[in-house]
């Protein structure tokens, strides 16, 4: 019963993003708006979490994004894709947030995690735990991304994590597609440097601990 209800739902009520947004713009249609939120909140949360390096902030920013989309519904032009409009609103909010954060603090973002990371690394050397290793590596990647310049980070998040094509990214960021691609290449090279430096450090640390134990 439940299954068939959901089937009828999607066949009767799924309209395109552009149609939905048009209804939001013209009629303040809450149903259409809720549909857009349901469809897009996870990807937008993901984008915002990766841009700021903070899951909870990501959720907050996603909410703000949809609130802003609704507030600015009169500005929406159906000549473009809704998603392009949405990504752009979300990204701008992320940039604003990142600017706020760096103004407030003196130290860069990734220093936040350095304390727990040290503890985790010590614990890991003693009793290697698979999940802990995974979490550690995720943490390293998170920190590495935060060291990229924002616009480079945006390209990586949109292309690698959200799977947008380079052409779509160029529409969101309003820069030529070639520029998007060269930024991506630069970003990957920078990340490679950062990651190999960090991972090398970790590997050396691990090997040192192992040889210590062997000698005893």
């Amino acid at each position: 019963m439940t299954g068939s209800i959901f089937n009828s739902l999607s066949s009767l009520f799924s309209i395109s993003d552009e149609q939905a947004m048009w209804r939001v713009r013209m009629e303040d249609d809450p149903q259409a708006f809720a549909q857009l939120v349901q469809r897009w909140e996870k990807p937008i949360q993901s984008l915002c979490a990766r841009m700021t390096g903070d899951l909870h902030r990501g959720e907050d920013l996603a909410q703000e994004t949809f609130a802003r989309v609704f507030a600015r519904r009169k500005d929406y032009l159906p000549s473009g894709k809704f998603s392009t409009f949405l990504w752009r609103v979300a990204l701008n909010l992320c940039y604003d947030e990142l600017r706020r954060i760096t103004r407030r603090r003196e130290s860069p973002l990734e220093e936040n995690f350095s304390e727990p990371q040290a503890e985790e690394m010590a614990a890991e050397a003693a009793t290697p735990d698979l999940r802990m290793v995974e979490e550690e590596r995720a943490e390293i990647v998170r920190a590495a991304l935060l060291r990229l310049e924002e616009t480079y980070r945006a390209v990586v998040v949109l292309r690698h994590y959200e799977g947008l094509k380079f052409r779509e990214i160029s529409e969101v960021l309003e820069i030529p597609e070639g520029t998007v691609k060269s930024r991506m290449a630069e970003a990957l090279s920078q990340l490679n440097k950062i990651l190999s430096h960090t991972l090398d450090g970790e590997e050396t640390h691990k090997k040192a601990k192992q040889s210590e134990r062997l000698m005893i």
């Binding site: 209800i5 009767l12 809720a34 995974e134 990647v141 990586v156």
Partner: protein, 191 residues
């Protein structure tokens, strides 16, 4: 040797490339250690990036008002489509699809003219639901959905009978169906 640009390599590593170009670039990689080194490095980094996952718990939210409307209408449509419209299309000569479209349009027109206050309420409710940061358990959502449908079995059956006895879709019958939908939707779910 002429090397492909880094833009071309990005198309290559991210699969945004024609099969011809892909073949050419692959061939170049076999002949050029320098490019092969760069590409391998990039692909290594791409693989490392995959180690950071941010998918949270698969949280189906509280049944949003939009879904409630849709469920309510689907119950009406479901009945109509399963039984009534076959009868209706035979009698009126119109296709099921055309009838479905007509029903939907008339209902939407009814919604527009008579339910503007509920719309404002819905908008506020949507905002509140969006403000709610707590993730709801998927099971709880499905359980609530089953509870809604089970509790409204009586309403559903009377709706069913109502539509069954309709010989032709009249204005008054549509209005009644619409009222049933409204009462279904306005039922507040137990928490």
């Amino acid at each position: 040797m002429k090397h492909p640009s880094q833009e071309e390599w990005m198309g290559y590593v991210y699969g945004e490339i024609s099969s011809t170009d892909k073949a050419n670039l692959s061939a170049h990689l076999k002949q050029c250690a320098e490019c092969a080194g760069r590409v391998t490095q990039w692909q290594g980094t791409m693989s490392s990036l995959n180690e950071w996952k941010v998918s949270g718990p698969i949280s189906a939210r509280v049944i949003r008002p939009a879904v409630k409307w849709a469920i309510a209408a689907a119950l009406v449509f479901g009945v109509g489509l399963g039984f009534g419209t076959a009868y209706l299309s035979a009698s009126s000569g119109r296709t099921t699809a055309a009838l479905r479209q007509e029903i939907r349009q008339e209902l939407q027109a009814e919604f527009k003219t008579q339910l503007s206050e509920q719309r404002t309420q819905l908008l506020a409710e949507v905002s509140r639901v969006i403000d709610d940061k707590r993730a709801e358990d998927k099971q709880a959502t499905l359980a609530a959905l089953r509870q809604v449908t089970a509790t409204h079995r009586a309403d559903y059956n009377s709706l069913h009978k109502e539509l069954e006895t309709m010989a032709v879709m009249t204005d008054s019958s549509l209005r009644q169906a619409q009222q049933e939908i409204v009462s279904l939707v306005n039922y507040s779910q137990p928490k």
